[in-house]
Amino acid sequence: MEFGYYPGCALHGSSNDYEQSVRACFDKLGVKLSELEDWICCGATAAHSINQKLATALPARNLAIAEKSGCANLLAPCPMCSMELIKARQAIQADEAVREEMSEIVELPVTGATEIVNLIQVFQAIGLDAIKSKVTDSLDRFKPACYYGCLLTRPPKTLRFDDCEHPSSMETILRELGAEPVEWNYKTECCGAGMTLCDPGTVVDLAHKIIANAKKHGANVIVTACPMCQMNLDMRQADVVKKFAESLDMPICYLSDMVGLALGLTPEELGINRHYVALRV
């Protein structure tokens, strides 16, 4: 199985532990990732806050590169990137005028032929049976709170993935690998990661709400498929503990960390040792 791969800035920067985890996991599962040649940033919050045209054009350039290389399915493990790519793709597919305008702006023909997939969808494509056939360790010691955050399921009309209020795709995977996912309240609440530098006060309040609720419902790890959620809940947790004077000690892992552990990979191979709050494995 082969997927095109759009890492996005986070996975080549401060969340390179996510890239390490995804690559280690897919190596083990025999999935080949071919990185998009000369990809550029999707523009993220800055582009859609300041110039709407740019917010379509930056992802459109990447879509055009993907099409040119004949890529049918492009994995963007960061939900911010995948949402921006999907949004641009739909705008291009829906309107001939947008297609022409974007092709002209990005200097490459773009039709929106390439399908964009998130990390969970790649695991679904591999299939639970195929993953289970390679499992060496049960995850039965973990009670994960699966945290989807904002952009894995929202906006639903654009993403058409899982249920936007009660998603369960990560639970399905982890349950099959032996873990006991908990029911909790804030699966899709925002952690404010986009404002982690500009407005840390807000972010600490939002992160507290999420981590404390997961703990209250008996979780011993929060599992996410978003580099910004992971970084924010993990790195800012010390600030949360300080502000709210309560012990949380909640490790924050990527979905690929959990699958990787089940496949017998070590925390070092997955980059879990580079997180802030230690996971007891």
Binding site: C9, H12, S14, A46, H48, L58, E107, D199, R274
Partner: protein, 197 residues
Amino acid sequence: MSESPKRLIADVERLAHTQVNDCYQCGKCTAGCPRAGVMDAGPTRLIRLVQTGDVLEAAACESVWQCVSCLTCTTRCPKSVNIAGVVDALRQISVERNITARKYSRTVLFQKEFLRNIRRNGRTNELELVAAWKLVAFFDDWSPFKALADARLGIPMLTRHKLHFKPGSPVKDKAVVRRIFDRCAAKRKSETEQEQD
């Protein structure tokens, strides 16, 4: 500066791809907004201001930059109004007209530096971005406290190999990125000029 409210509403609707008059002010967006509690004008009120043509007043609200772009409002709107899109449109208008709420100028400067960083590098160079933003923000509010906030995050990030003095693989064709930026800016300019004719 007297500007036709009609024209301003049309601008918001074109940028956000939505019809603001579809909103019947039920308040569901504000009920689900994680930031509503601290906002000067929640999403329901922002939409109302746009409906009545008070677009510039809406764009100058603090809430426009307090929004964390989580899209809960757009997701839950029973009338399918793209509320988060309207907030983005208001952000863009507030930046273009330099009427952003003073209290959130650091946030605005961050978004501007982010784009400048991509324009220059094609991909974000995080260390360069944070340094540049801290510097421009310091010359804006002269707060050494804010300038040094989060500096303590640097060392733990370095020891975890999460921060890099030399970023990973650079973009080869950086010139095309600059051309894309320039074309988008030019398109926006010609669109707004056409409207004024």
